[in-house]
Symmetry: C2
Subunit: 197 residues, 2 copies
């Protein structure tokens, strides 16, 4: 029984998070209250507070989920035969994000809110540092193995690539001026040329 309850609790939490993210993306963090999230989730405040006791708690759970999503997205870096192939698989996995209005809006909203709110900035900075460290380490490994050009600054390149992915996802909030496939192809091309020895 206990296990079934836990599974139900996790499912409900995930559903509330999804609903809340949609509300934030459409209306903004500031303008979205717990009452609106309750209404959108079809739950009473009492029921919702069993899962999250504040908007802050929802945002923290979003950041934690982003952290897990990021790690999953970067997994090919650890398993691929070489670093460039791994990174190409990572960006291929991100393709559904190019032109995703929901992902674009949420990224812009999280960014704007973090820029104004130190506590939220801190929460997302941890998820961000994770990605940067994993990517920097992968580039270093690639250099040691001779797969990645040696006269490349791993930390700065990781930062630039992350800013690029950020920028591309944010642009999804607006109509893409080129087909999604062309974005993927241009990005793969960029990674190959930037990193190849």
């Amino acid at each position: 029984m206990r296990r079934r309850d836990d599974a139900r609790h996790s499912r409900q939490r995930a559903r509330i998070l999804e609903v809340a993210q949609r509300c934030f993306a459409v209306g903004g963090f500031h303008q979205t209250g717990m009452a609106e999230i309750c209404a959108a989730a079809g739950m009473s405040p009492g029921a919702l507070y069993r899962y999250f006791d504040s908007k802050q708690a929802i945002i923290e759970a979003m950041a934690e989920q982003e952290r897990q999503d990021n790690r999953r997205a970067l997994a090919p870096l650890a398993t691929a035969d070489n670093v460039i192939d791994g990174l190409l698989r990572v960006v291929a996995g991100l393709a559904p994000m190019w032109g995703s209005r929901a992902a674009g809006r949420l990224t812009l909203e999280v960014g704007a809110e973090a820029a104004r709110n130190d506590r939220i900035a801190e929460i997302f900075a941890a998820a961000d540092a994770d990605v940067r460290e994993l990517l920097t380490a992968a580039l270093r490994t690639g250099q040691e193995r001779g797969e990645v050009r040696r006269n490349l600054d791993p930390a700065a390149t990781a930062f630039v690539l992350i800013a690029l992915v950020d920028g591309l996802i944010g642009r999804g909030a607006f109509p893409l001026p080129v087909p999604r496939k062309a974005v993927s192809a241009a990005l793969a091309d960029l990674i190959r040329r930037l990193l190849a020895p």
Copy 2:
């Protein structure tokens, strides 16, 4: 007399725009009212309304200014001896933006607001299309002249480069994890390798 009045009017408009942008970057578009902008500018509402009759009018003027700034920033594309050199000069000119907290905040705020507000999205889309068209045309010219690799999609590459600059400026809202100079160097490196024939 008339000319002196015009110059004064322009200077005042520019000053109000600057103050308003700072207010928006700190407090967000939605949360910033005309009263706050008046207070920050040290003007009475009556005086401010002689320059801008609404927040929307201020935002439209910001977009128009961005359009002019963008054109100025891209000017080296038209005057440089070759397209890659021109683009390297453009990004060198953008260097003060990497790590600029004010520019980062404002970019994120404009993006988030545009994602929620179609009228603002439309205003900024025009400034954006300008940059994309100029850059796409420059890449095509570079291909015709043999300065830029021919098997490159000019429109998609322009879009990816713009998203990258967006992403980098937005990141300025938070502490840079690498020195500003390293960002500039990695970006110049990326452009050379991506575009070289």
